[in-house]
């Protein structure tokens, strides 16, 4: 597992924030109710993610190990950059526009 926090860990962080910091400030009954429903929905996502197989990071781990051991060739840069770009398309897609 190399993408931390995992999607599941992110849902936990959001649930803690909503339940611990936002819910106690809501005084409107309808908003409180809808927040509780939203947190239930987030719980479903959390449990569904738990059923997915963990990401296979064998290749990434091997590449990192080789580079640390100074076993580096120039072709690696393109491979590494493509991997980072794929992660960015999930984590922060608009960031890539800054290099256009």
């Amino acid at each position: 597992m190399s993408e931390r926090p995992t999607a599941q860990e992110l849902t936990e962080a959001i649930a803690e924030f909503l339940g611990g910091e936002i819910l106690p400030t809501l005084t409107d009954h309808r908003l409180r109710f809808r927040m509780l429903v939203a947190m239930n929905a987030l719980g479903i996502v959390h449990r569904e993610l738990a059923a997915l197989p963990p990401e296979d990071d064998t290749e990434r781990r091997e590449l990192a190990r080789r580079i640390r051991a100074d076993d580096v060739e120039q072709g690696m840069l393109a491979v590494v950059k493509a991997d980072v770009e794929a992660r960015l398309r999930i984590a922060s897609p608009r960031y890539l526009d800054r290099y256009a």
């Binding site: 190399s2 993408e3 931390r4 926090p5 860990e9 992110l10 962080a13 959001i14 803690e16 924030f17 400030t25 990071d57 990434r60 781990r61 590449l63 990192a64 190990r65 580079i67 640390r68 100074d70 580096v72 120039q74 690696m76 840069l77 590494v80 950059k81 991997d83 980072v84 770009e85 992660r87 960015l88 999930i90 984590a91 922060s92 960031y95 890539l96 800054r98 290099y99």
Partner: protein, 318 residues
Amino acid sequence: MTTVAIDSDDRTEMREALEAVLGPTTEPVLLAGGASKEAWAVDAGGQRLLVRRAAVGVIHRHTLSLKEEFAVLEAAYEAGVKVPRPVMYIPELEGREAFVMERLEGETIGRRIVRMDVPAQLPVQLAEELAKIHAIPRERLPFLQEARLERMMDELDDVGEPHPAIELGLWWLRENRPAPRAAVVTHGDYRIGNVVVDEHGLVGILDWEFAHLDEPVRDLGFGLVRAWRFGADDKRFGGIADVDDYLARYNELTGLDVRLDELDYWELAGNVGWAIGCLTQAQRHLSGQDRSVELAILGRLGAEVEYEICHLLEKMWA
């Protein structure tokens, strides 16, 4: 700065604690930002003050205690660096250590500074203050530790996740290290976002908790890191200017004759350091030390910095 909602009981207790050391004060206001430290704005004796106080249970590796940070602030103030005037260190304020300093007026938020019409002399002013910081005698601050590049690898290993882009950056830094320069007192986080600016330019340098002994060019190059351009990417120095005036003035004052390729090297090092910093911040959340969405998401946003590392390597690895 924005303020944070807080129980009036907490405010009353804080006011009583502060009045015990400062005399009559205004109602203290907790300012937003900073998971590791609290900042309270308060006025006393006709002075605008800022109280920095440790937050619950947070001890960072490689950062100064508030007592040490206060000592660094005093040394910088004595050396004529533009900093908030240090007022007093308080070993225990409501159960935690704290210090009091002058509260400067001006803009600190990086995103706003890069959109301001900042005076043309700001880069030169930043070079002048940095030269003064680097001239502080290291004997004045005997507790400061000397940093080494190897520490970045240790920090990455502590995180325990594979990040080939960071590894490639570290490899490049190992292979291409410029001739070492004598270590000086460095600020350690010298960039837009940690300075106060107004319409006349630089008002003061803040956030001294990363001060340490290091190569001066590392400090000089840190402000070039893309993350600290706050979206104004075409201005390489902190989103406010190109590096020419900044570098020229620094060289003029220090006689160090820093070259552009050396600055490139330390810009990459700054990115590698911040990429690892994102991971260690996320670890604070994941380990349960400081549960926070803001810290958690940094673990993923570190990919932005890794992309920049690849981008810099493409240019340098010709």
